[in-house]
Symmetry: D2
Subunit: 234 residues, 4 copies
C-alpha cells in the first residue's frame, strides 16, 4: 500500500488555499493548514478533516514550530505550498518604508523560511515537492507597486535557486504564477460579471495545476508555469 | 455522450509523437499522424488504430491537403500538435545558407502553416487546442547553432502571437519547451546510462504534460512550460 | 595614426539608418549603405560622402557581392548594422503564407546572411562589431502580427547564438530593441504631436546607443539593450 | 552656463564606485559618496575633491539624513547610484535566517530606501537619474545562493516598478547587470591571469556605461543592460 501523503499549505485563506486543501484531500492526502489566524479556517477544516496551525511565516521560530507540530500530528509533509503575500499600493514617494519592508518579508522572506524548513525535512527523506505562488508582479514590476514587485521577483529568485539546488536531490521545486484575478464569491457581483464567463481564474482550476506539478515524473519536471484566463490581456 | 476528440500530430516519429499518440488514444481520442515519410509509422498506427498522412509541413498546399484529409477521414481535429524541427550544427562562418533556411522553415514556418490551418478550422468551431514543441534553443541561443535558435525562438514568437490572438476566441495555444535529451532506446547504451536514472526525459512523461495543458480549464490556461530532468543543469 | 573605420549599414532608408550614417561619418568612419533600391539614398550619400549598393538581403549571392564590393571600394567593414525588416498585419487565419514567409526572410534570414558574411571577414581579422535592430516584437508576440514576432524573435536567437560564438573571438555582437515609434517628419503632424515632446524615439538618439555599443571596452560588452521613450507604456 | 551636476553613490568602495566617482568628477560633477564606514574612502575623496557620508542603507533614518546632508553640502543630487549588496553562500538547509534576511535588506530594501529618497527630491525637481547595480543573480538563481537571488531579483522588481512610474515624470531609472567578475588589483595574481586579457570587467569600462545611460536622450531611454567580458560563458 502506498504511503499516505501529507500536504502543508502555508498562507491559508478562503480562496486558492481552500481549493488546494479540498483537492489534496480528495487525492487521499492528509492536509495541514497554517495561517496567522487559523480561526477563520474552521469550516474548511471540518470539511477536509484537517489540522490548522497558527504561524507568522516571517518569524523563524514560528516556522520551525509549525513544521514540528505538523510532523508530530500528521507525519513529515512531502508537499508544501507557500501561498502568503502582502502588498501595499501607492507612489514610491509616499509609501511607508515599514509597510514596504513588511510586504517584502511576507511575500519573499517567509517563502524562504518555509522553503528552508521544508528542505531540512525533505533532503534527509530524499524526496518531496515545494510549490510557491507567484503573481503578475512576478513577471512585470507595475507602477505604484514596488513592494509587490520586489517581493514576488525576489520569490522567483528563491524558487530558481532552490530548484537548481534541490531538484538533483529529488525535491521538486516550482512556482505557479497567477496572472489575473482569482474568482472570489465575496467580490462585488457587478465586478464579477464584468469580465465575462471564466474571466476570473477559478481556484479549483488553479489547484489542478498545482497537483499536476506534484504528480510530474521527475524526468520531466517543470519549475515555472504562468496561468491566466483565456480572455486576459498580457 | 461527449463528442469524440480528434487529435492531429504533425512531425510524427518514434519518440515523443508516439507517446503522444498512445496517450491521446488511451484518452479516447481518434489520432491522426502526419510525417514526410509516414511509412515508418506503420507499427504505431496498428497499435493506436490511427491514420497517417504524408505531409511536408513547409509546403502550404501539403498542409491544406493534410487538414482536408484528416477532416474527411476523422472529423475536424480539436487538438493539434506541431512537433517538427530541423537544425544544423557548425560555425556561423561555415554553415550552408540553404540548410539554415531549411532549418528555419521546418522549425518555425511549418509551425505557422500548421497553426494557421488549425486556426482556420477552430475559429469557426469556437474551440480547440494547438500545442507546439520547443527546445533548449527556445530559451538560449547556443554557439554553432544559430539555425536552431532562429527556428525555435521564431516559434516562440508565433506561439505568443497566436495565444494573444486566439485564446479570447476559446482556442488554447501553448508551447512545451523540452530542455534536455529525450530518452530513445536506440541511443547508445553507455550514453543512456551516463545520465543516471531518469536523466533523460521520458517521452510518456512529457506527453502527460501536453495532455494536462489540453485539459486545463479555460479560466486558468498556461501557454508556456519548460520541462527538464531532475538532474539537468540549467 | 589609427586606422580608419569602415561601417556598413544594410537596410538603409531615410530614418534610423540615415542617423547612423551621419553619426558614423562624424566619428571619422567611411560609411557604406545597402538597400534594395539605393536610388532613394542619393541625398544622404552626398551628405556623408559615402557609397550605396543595391542588395536584396535575403539572396545569398547578393549579400556576398555586397561585401565584396564594399571591401573593394572601402576596405573590409569592421562595423556592420542589419536594419532591415518586414511585417504583415492581419488575423492568423487571413494572412497570406507567402507574405508571412517573406517577412520572416527579410527580418531574420537576411540578418543571418549579413551576419555570416560579416563574420567571415571579421573572424580572420580578429575583430569587429555586428549590430542588429530589434523591435517591440522582439519582446512580445502581438496578436495579428505573427510574422513580425517570428522574424524578430528569430533574430534574437541569431544574436544570442552569434554573441556566444563570436565574442570570444573578439567580435562584438549586439541587438538594439526599439520599443516604440521612431520619429519621422513625414508622419502626420497631428499624430506626431499626439505623443507629446520626445514621445517618439529620436533616430539620432538611437544612433548614439549603437555607437556606444561599438565603443564599449571588450571587458564589459552588452549584447542586448531596449530603448523606449520616457513616456512609453511597457 | 549649465548647472553643475551632483552625483551620489551609495555603497561606495574601492572597486566600481571609485571608477564611477572618478568618471563623474571628470565629467564636471560634484561627487558625494556614502558607505557604512566612509573612513576607507579617504584616498579617493582627496583625489576627486568629494564628500563622504556614513550611512547604513537599510535604516530609513540614515538614508533620510544622508540625502539631507548631501543636499546641504552639495545641492540636490540629480544622479544617484545604488551599488550596495550582500550575499551569503551555503546550502539552503544550512544558511542562517538572520543572515539571509540581512542580505535581502542590503541588496534590495536598501535600494528601495535610497530610490525612494532620490525620487522624493527628483519628482519635485522634474528630472534626475537613478541607477542600480545588478549581478548574475539578477538573471539566474544559482544553487547555494538563494539570498543573493532573492535580493537581486527583488531589486529588478524595484527597478521595473520605478521605471514605469517615474520615467513619465522625466526621471530615468535603470539597472546595470554585471555578469562576471570585476577586476580588482587586490585579487590573487594567478587568479587574475587565469581569465586571460580583459577576462575580468574593468570597472572604468563599466562606469562608462553608467555615464552613457545618464546621458541618454529621454526619447530613447534604456532601463536595463547586462555587461560581461568578451570571453564570459553565459
Amino acid at each position: 500500500m502506498a504511503e499516505q501523503e501529507i500536504a502543508l499549505i502555508v498562507g491559508a485563506g478562503p480562496g486558492l488555499s481552500a481549493s488546494l486543501a479540498r483537492l489534496f484531500k480528495k487525492e487521499g492526502m492528509k492536509v495541514a493548514l497554517a495561517a496567522r489566524s487559523p480561526k477563520k479556517l474552521d469550516g474548511l477544516l471540518k470539511e477536509i478533516n484537517g489540522h490548522a496551525y497558527p504561524c507568522d511565516a516571517v518569524v523563524p521560530k514560528d516556522v520551525e514550530d509549525l513544521f514540528n507540530s505538523v510532523s508530530r500530528d500528521n507525519g513529515e509533509p512531502n508537499l508544501v505550498v507557500y501561498n502568503a503575500s502582502r502588498r501595499i499600493h501607492g507612489p514610491i514617494t509616499a509609501v511607508d518604508p515599514g509597510e514596504v519592508l513588511n510586504a517584502i518579508l511576507v511575500t519573499c522572506y517567509g517563502g524562504f523560511l518555509v522553503g528552508q524548513a521544508a528542505a531540512k525535512r525533505m533532503v534527509p527523506a530524499g524526496k518531496g515537492t515545494i510549490l510557491f505562488t507567484g503573481a503578475s508582479a512576478s513577471i512585470k514590476g507595475f507602477p505604484n507597486s514596488a513592494s509587490f514587485a520586489m517581493g514576488k521577483m525576489g520569490l522567483t529568485g528563491l524558487v530558481q535557486s532552490m530548484a537548481r539546488e534541490l531538484q538533483p536531490q529529488n525535491i521538486h521545486v516550482a512556482q505557479v504564477v497567477i496572472d489575473g484575478g482569482i474568482y472570489e464569491p465575496t467580490r462585488d457581483a457587478e465586478r464579477l460579471k464584468s469580465r465575462g464567463p471564466d474571466g476570473w481564474l477559478d481556484p479549483d482550476a488553479i489547484a489542478q495545476t498545482y497537483l499536476n506539478l506534484h504528480r510530474q515524473h521527475r524526468s520531466a519536471w517543470a519549475s515555472y508555469i504562468e496561468l491566466r484566463p483565456w480572455t486576459e490581456k498580457f
